[in-house]
Amino acid sequence: MDESKVRLRALDLFMGLGFLAVGAFVVYDGFLAFYATQMATVERSSNPGVTSIFIGGLMGLLGLVIAAIGLLGSLHPLRIARQAVSETLQSKAFYRGAIALAGIAVYFFVFWDRIPYAISTFLFLAGMMTIFKAGAWWKIGIISGGTVAVVWYVFGVLAMIPLP
């Protein structure tokens, strides 16, 4: 098996375990509904817990099988994961992706609803374009300002959506 496949299998182990955990939670939520006192008068067959247990159980089972395939396919998943993580941390693409994600997170969770739309969006666009070297500063300024104006006109004026 080639190295990329082995790495994929190692990831399968962790993602399979993730699905197993989510499935277990869905089953747990189903049991909560099944034994809730508010549901005492509801027929067992119409209880929402029925589907939760069915869907959660199925997801957990599939997650378990994927995790098993991952374990068998990678044999040493922890070692492979450590190696993959250390290699990824050295790659330039990872840092570019991480910066992009951090920029989006700042725009969504820090700027949004706290700073007026026009300022926050201009700051985000100009900042991202500068970081990723989109061109000269005046070009970035014009494109960012133009985009803010167009979005404000289309959404705020034409579609009458109250922007933050």
Partner: protein, 501 residues
């Protein structure tokens, strides 16, 4: 409703306003589809936010225009830069890009456009003919059948798009079903997996999830990559329709494959075009030309992905089950605008199917002209740096999600769905079954329990009705087939034969 009344209703929604909206949809779709990183699914999800204040029919007409434009637009970048604008056009690269590199880019674009028209019109014809038939059949379905169709849809979508392992497609679909079940239960008002958050009582909103799931990973991926694209030069070769009609048999077969794949819930255009391309190559007299600029191959790929549009809308309108990821997002838009697809649609809006047919036909006409006019400007647009385009896409993702309900939680959901999308991409988990699962979650859940309630908790209701039984058998065969049981049986027979001899 008589033919005359239907025609009156159809003409009511073919006025200047609708024609303008469809044209705008096709135009936006062509650009969205052509830009690598922006898919048709994401375009529909983003535009749904803007259409929030439109009337139901006009919003849907606009989105249908975008659907047609988006699927066709993807071939422009596939041919000009060798990167598919949408997954549906990945197979068009095989022969479209080599043609462009041989100095025949304009010829390739014209051929793909004509094939797109043939495919779209074929799909629309099937939509007009098959939707009423399937609706008629669906009216006889009970909750048991709807539950099994939903489950079968998620499983077959998972099996056909799974790629690496079919199980990945299944778990993605089941995960989608679980997400679709979050919120207040329709039958008992019990709150499921809401963590006590009032914002989740109404369920997890579909559009922000789709925007995040498809948009954010593309933004991150594009910004991680420093490479900019090389664009092919356009030639001036003229192509006539009769040059394409030489391949009428390939086009017809591809159209049928496209519609067939389209009808299968949640599979979509990419599977249709690859299947059609594979079949065409296998049955071709010149398979060696495939991948080197074969016109036949380009016709096969482009006809199938476009005929899949009509095919995907057939189960959407008749059963309320979308045939492709863009159709799934469209279902979300339908519901937002008060149009509930499914068998009852023929009673609530009797002319709707034919109105949809007319909108799609108008969209096809606009697609024909816009795609050719846009070929030259697209050369320039495709050279826009990712560093400029992707931050702008992010702003649209945020505004598109926020504009639906003006809530901050939708922005947070875009981000969470984006992280999930990145994980899915990294682990090679398909998106289509997840999308279908989220859309079908409430349908599967409520129909499962309604069926059990009707039978007094007796599970035999899923086996004793003929359609249910066929669906159960299909599900079992599908699972066994994907687990390789039939292969094992075949090889066991092969081994035992020589031993007996």
């Amino acid at each position: 409703m008589g033919f005359e009344q239907i025609m009156v209703e159809v003409l009511k929604t073919l006025n200047l306003e609708f024609i303008f909206l469809i044209a705008a949809g096709v135009f936006i779709g062509l650009i969205v589809g052509a830009l690598p990183g922006l898919t048709t699914t994401m375009g529909i999800a983003l535009l749904t936010g803007i259409t929030f204040k439109f009337s139901g029919h006009s919003a849907i007409a606009l989105l249908m225009g975008l659907y047609v434009g988006g699927v066709s637009g993807g071939s422009l970048s596939a041919i000009l830069v060798g990167i598919p604008g949408t997954p549906a056009n990945a197979s068009s690269i095989q022969d479209g890009f080599p043609l462009a590199m041989a100095g025949k880019a304009y010829q390739a674009i014209t051929i793909s456009r004509m094939a797109s028209i043939i495919g779209t019109v074929f799909g629309i014809g099937c939509l007009a003919f098959l939707t009423p038939l399937l609706t008629e059949l669906a009216l006889k379905f009970t909750s048991a059948e709807f539950f099994l169709i939903g489950l079968f849809g998620v499983l077959i979508s998972g099996a056909l798009t799974g790629g690496d392992i079919a199980l990945k497609g299944w778990v993605a679909g089941i995960f989608g079903l679980a997400i679709g079940m979050v919120g207040t239960d329709e039958l008992t008002a019990w709150q499921r997996m809401t963590f006590g958050s009032p914002e989740l009582f109404g369920g997890i909103p579909f559009i922000p999830i789709m925007i995040g799931f498809f948009g954010i990973p593309q933004v991150i991926e594009a910004l991680s990559d420093e490479q900019d694209v090389l664009v092919a030069v356009l030639d001036k070769t003229k192509v006539k329709m009769r040059d394409i009609l030489k391949y009428w048999w390939v086009a017809l077969r591809s159209g049928l494959i496209g519609v067939g794949v389209g009808i299968i819930p949640g599979v979509g255009e990419d599977v249709a075009s690859w299947t059609s391309y594979g079949v065409a190559k296998k049955s071709s007299r010149h398979p060696e030309e495939y991948g080197k600029g074969s016109i036949e191959g380009l016709v096969a790929a482009e006809t199938a992905d476009n005929s899949c549009i009509g095919g995907a809308i057939i189960p959407l309108l008749s059963l309320g089950i979308p045939g492709s990821p863009p159709a799934a997002v469209m279902l979300g838009a339908f519901l937002i605008h008060g149009v509930r697809p499914g068998p009852m649609l023929s009673f609530e809006f009797p002319a709707f199917t034919y109105q949809a047919v007319s909108w799609l036909l108008v969209a096809t006409i606009f697609m024909r002209f816009f795609a050719m006019w846009l070929a030259k400007p697209m050369q320039k647009i495709l050279q826009i740096k990712n560093a400029i385009l992707m931050p702008i896409v992010t702003v649209f993702c945020a505004i598109g999600a926020y504009s639906l309900d003006i809530r901050f939680i939708d922005i947070a959901l875009v981000f969470i769905a984006g992280i999930l999308g990145l994980l899915f991409k990294e682990g090679k988990y398909p998106a289509a079954p997840l999308v279908l699962g989220i859309v079908l979650g409430p349908l599967v859940d409520t129909n499962f329990r309604r069926a059990l309630k009707a039978s007094g908790g007796d599970f035999s209701i899923f086996f004793t009705r003929p359609v249910s039984l066929i669906l159960v058998i299909s599900i079992v065969l599908l699972i066994l087939g994907q687990l390789g049981v039939f292969g094992m049986i075949r090889s066991w027979f092969k081994k035992s034969k020589p031993a007996a001899a």
